[in-house]
């Protein structure tokens, strides 16, 4: 095992601690004051949601092409973590919106498209639960995972395409980011920390899925053994090794 992957959890915890420290020491915003510090968790959560769904998209395309169970597990795990980050984005945005905008929620295009993305990927997870056969599940989920990704650019561009309350992008846009460079450094550090957390969550989820599959396979084998004991295989006169 490579050292980085063994210490991934430690790296994630240290990165989050550093990110938090930097977020609390960066200069406050001229207009919003300390409330603006919510940006250091809200924006990374949103970007990690984009990244999660992009990886689900990539793994789904990969599954449709190569049909490897590993890619299906990756797509599923990433979608699950992505739903978590989308929910986190909405909650943190709400907490930021109440003092700054004056409302927890409003029917702004960015908010509505983000909520839509949350529910569509919940649908993805529900579809996986509702399909029992692994191959059928992988195929349906892969098609869903490819189609659903179409809304991610819509979420990002919603603040530009439609008239919105939510501010347009500060960093992910053409041109110089319109942000103080200390604040930008703090934001980037927090994005890296969130990425490490994403990697930890993704890895645990993939391992869990692999273990679940191994367990299901073992249970199938056990049932097969039981039936094998009751129904003896026809003897065609050839000596075989006794079953263990």
């Amino acid at each position: 095992m490579r050292p980085l992957s063994r210490h991934l959890s430690t790296v994630a915890v240290l990165a989050m601690a550093t990110g938090l420290a930097v977020a609390l020491t960066a200069p406050p915003d001229q207009l919003q004051g300390n409330l603006q510090r919510l940006m250091y968790v809200h924006v990374p959560a949103a970007w990690l949601a984009y990244l999660s769904f992009a990886i689900t998209f990539g793994a789904s395309v990969g599954w449709l092409w190569k049909r490897k169970a590993r890619l299906d597990r990756l797509a599923a795990a990433s979608a699950e973590v992505g739903v978590f980050f989308t929910g986190l984005t909405i909650v943190l945005g709400s907490v930021w919106g109440k003092p700054v905008w004056g409302v927890w929620w409003t029917w702004d295009p960015r908010l509505v498209t983000t909520a839509l993305m949350f529910f569509v990927y919940l649908g993805y997870l529900a579809l996986r639960r509702a399909t029992l056969d692994p191959t059928v599940r992988a195929r349906r989920a892969a098609v869903f995972g490819v189609l659903a990704f179409g809304q991610v650019p819509v979420v990002h561009m919603s603040v530009i395409w439609w008239r919105a309350l939510h501010q347009p992008p500060t960093v992910l846009r053409p041109g110089d980011p319109s942000i103080d460079h200390w604040m930008l450094a703090a934001l980037v550090l927090n994005v890296l920390a969130f990425t490490a957390v994403y990697a930890v969550l993704l890895r645990s989820r993939i391992r869990l899925a692999a273990d679940e599959e191994a367990l299901a396979a073992a249970q199938d084998a056990a049932t097969a053994d039981l039936a094998g004991a009751a129904v003896t295989a026809p003897d065609y006169g050839r000596r075989t090794e006794p079953d263990v």
Partner: protein, 143 residues
């Protein structure tokens, strides 16, 4: 399997048509989150005095004054002179970041020439700057 595929394609097709109608057709203009002051003035005839809608614009410099139950100010489409302006009577306490020059989205209805609002949302922009050396305290910086 075939029935599942048929259902999936049908649902997907309906979703695409629905989204197309919503976004391209923009029924009644209700998808617009708010009207700017010039649009609101241009469409004054379409909005009767009781019909609620949202106006979004900038708070004109030096226009805000307190009233017993709220604020009066003028919301403008832009900072250039001659920009469309709508006088607003707002009932309630102003949002924390409310100040001249900031963007606001107001919900309410026309009352003659004035827009009677009961909900105000402050719209902040995408620029984040550290405080200047000039020591005016930023709102929210004190507990």
């Amino acid at each position: 399997m075939r029935r599942y595929r048929l259902a999936a394609v049908a649902v997907l097709g309906m979703a695409v048509v629905l989204l197309g109608v919503l976004f391209v057709g923009n029924i009644n203009g209700n998808l617009v989150y708010f009207l700017t002051p010039d649009e609101a003035l241009a469409q004054r005839a379409d909005f009767a005095d009781d019909r609620r809608f949202q106006i979004g614009g900038l708070v004109q410099q030096d226009s805000a004054e307190s009233t017993p139950d709220g604020l009066r100010f003028i919301v403008v489409s832009g900072t250039e002179p001659g920009a469309a302006a709508v006088p607003v009577a707002y009932e309630g306490s102003p949002a924390q970041l409310f100040r001249p020059g900031i963007g606001v989205v107001l919900e309410g209805s026309w009352n003659g020439e004035t827009f009677d609002a009961d909900t105000m949302i402050v719209k902040h922009d995408e620029n984040y700057r550290a405080p200047d050396a000039d020591p005016t305290p930023a709102p929210g910086s004190a507990p």
